[in-house]
Assembly symmetry: C2
Homo-oligomer: 314 residues x 2
């Protein structure tokens, strides 16, 4: 069985039980999908208490979820949703193989650049899809997620144009109450998302641990956020990705509507966890430079963040 | 009496009893000069215990120093050495006038740009000299200074070429064991010094509270320091100040020789005191931009520091 046939019986594994994994996996399970969560630290709690989603679209609790400590317990699935931090990708070499059959699809919901290629190299490019989550979401405890705003997902194929499975997976998300659509170019979407993550996740840490409202209210940081967005747009264009002409204003307005939002990287940083410095800043910086773009502000932000949130934290 | 006559009887006031005021004032007093220290928080301690200078050139203690709580107690002097943080300049409007006679000279040892003009506006341009201190020096307690490295001072006139008094004051410093020389252009010297203070004072704070050795050892921050130096050289050139062609390498090598040095701005920051953000980063940034220079890294550093170390701390 694979995701192009019998989508309603799609067997799904979710790897990573942070906010993203619990939220999207929880919505899919809540819609009746056969979802298996791979968990480590939250395993016992979720086995006993299930998943609890507090959402501005309506709270819900899944008292009983299928949760396992090892991928062998779960076994082969049609779709593996990867929601680990990119800083933990080395674990996937061990965690993914028991979940695979010949036509298993891998959907990474990870941030930034690099995870698509990494999964393609390890498990085959034809398996890989990427999903971009536009969502304000925080993990508030084991198996507990607070969904603050937005929630939509854009899904694209890593290795080519959309396929029947791309639409099937997208349909599964939509049926689960997650607004989801298929995108023609995954990498263009990734650059588009970076026009937000690079400035706002980055400045929230580099400016001393502040939320998006504080960034916007500070004249210098507001200007800097816009300048970083422009650098990212310029890099994307050089690399062949045409972003909407008004993306700078769109991102600034979207941020205004978020209120005092703490980006996920800031929360990771403040809680002593790994920050996806390479995925969000390092890899975009390297690709932009390789493409001939001048990125003085992204470079500086990357160098500062690499020092402030060194690799090695998980 | 003024500093062009009878230099040996020069009456000197030192305003500000941080590391710089205590160190240079202490050396001048130790050489037999008539030095009057204006102090507030350290007054009682210094009155009882004097000044204590621990120096790699030899420690010395001044058990009895002339110290006053008010400028009125001191009265008119020939030379007023200003060693307050630029963040406290508003206090000078009240502190300076009682120290003035008709020909009193004001020598500011303050960092960065802006204090010369501020003093000139308040008290007359003809009074103002600036001194640039190339010194690694930390205040370790009330009236206690640790002199770690260097120590030389460059002195120039604010309003024109060197005068007899410029040489007389310089001679007083040299006689006190402080290597000191007269410079033709105070503002060129200020830009030269900024090629160090802007990157190293700035990155030590923005990168999370690290010393100069840690900055140099981090490949990204090392590169960033060099890039900031180049931006400052470019701005200085646009504003008519030709800095030595090899100043970038000079500053990097000088920093290597300092070891794990914590710049004064970092110490101020970590101890919750005011950081001279406007003098060291803000005013140079504004002048560079007004001169048509592109300063993306200085701009970013300034915007971050303004947020990290907001005005209002003293």
């Amino acid at each position: 069985m694979d995701v192009t046939h019998e989508p309603s019986s799609m067997r799904i594994a979710v790897v990573g039980s942070g906010a993203v994994g619990c939220y999207y996996g929880g919505r899919l399970a809540n819609s009746g999908r056969d979802v298996h969560f791979l968990m480590r630290s939250d395993l016992d709690h979720v086995r006993k208490h299930g998943l609890s989603i507090r959402s501005h679209h309506g709270d819900f609790v899944l008292p009983t979820v299928q949760v396992s400590a090892t991928p062998e317990e779960i076994g082969p699935c049609d779709l593996v949703i990867i929601a680990l931090k990119a800083t933990s990708n080395d674990q996937l070499k061990r965690l993914i193989p028991p979940l695979l059959h010949e036509r298993t699809s891998l959907l990474t919901l990870q941030n930034g650049l690099g995870s698509d290629e990494w999964l393609a190299n390890c498990f085959g490019a034809e398996r890989v899809l990427g999903g971009l989550c536009f969502v304000c979401i925080n993990r508030t405890g084991p198996g507990e997620v607070h969904h603050l705003a937005e929630g939509r997902v854009s899904i694209g194929e890593f290795a080519g144009p959309p396929q029947p499975r791309t639409h099937a997976i997208t349909a599964a998300f939509n049926e689960a109450g997650v607004p989801c659509h298929v995108v023609d170019s995954l990498s263009t979407e990734r650059w588009k998302k970076l026009t937000w993550n690079i400035p706002f996740n980055g400045l929230s840490i580099a400016a001393g641990g502040i939320d998006t409202e504080q960034i916007l209210a500070d004249a210098g940081l507001n200007q800097l956020a816009r300048e970083l967005i422009r650098e990212v747009i310029g890099a994307a264009q050089r690399l062949g990705h045409d972003l909407p002409a008004d993306i700078e204003d769109i991102q600034m307005r979207a941020t205004e509507s978020m209120g005092p939002y703490r980006p996920s990287s800031l929360i990771d940083f403040q809680q002593g966890r790994g920050v996806e410095v390479e995925a969000i800043w390092g890899e975009p910086y390297r690709r932009a430079i390789a493409g001939g773009a001048a990125m003085p502000r992204l470079e500086m932000l990357y160098f500062l963040l690499r020092r402030l949130a060194p690799a090695g934290r998980k």
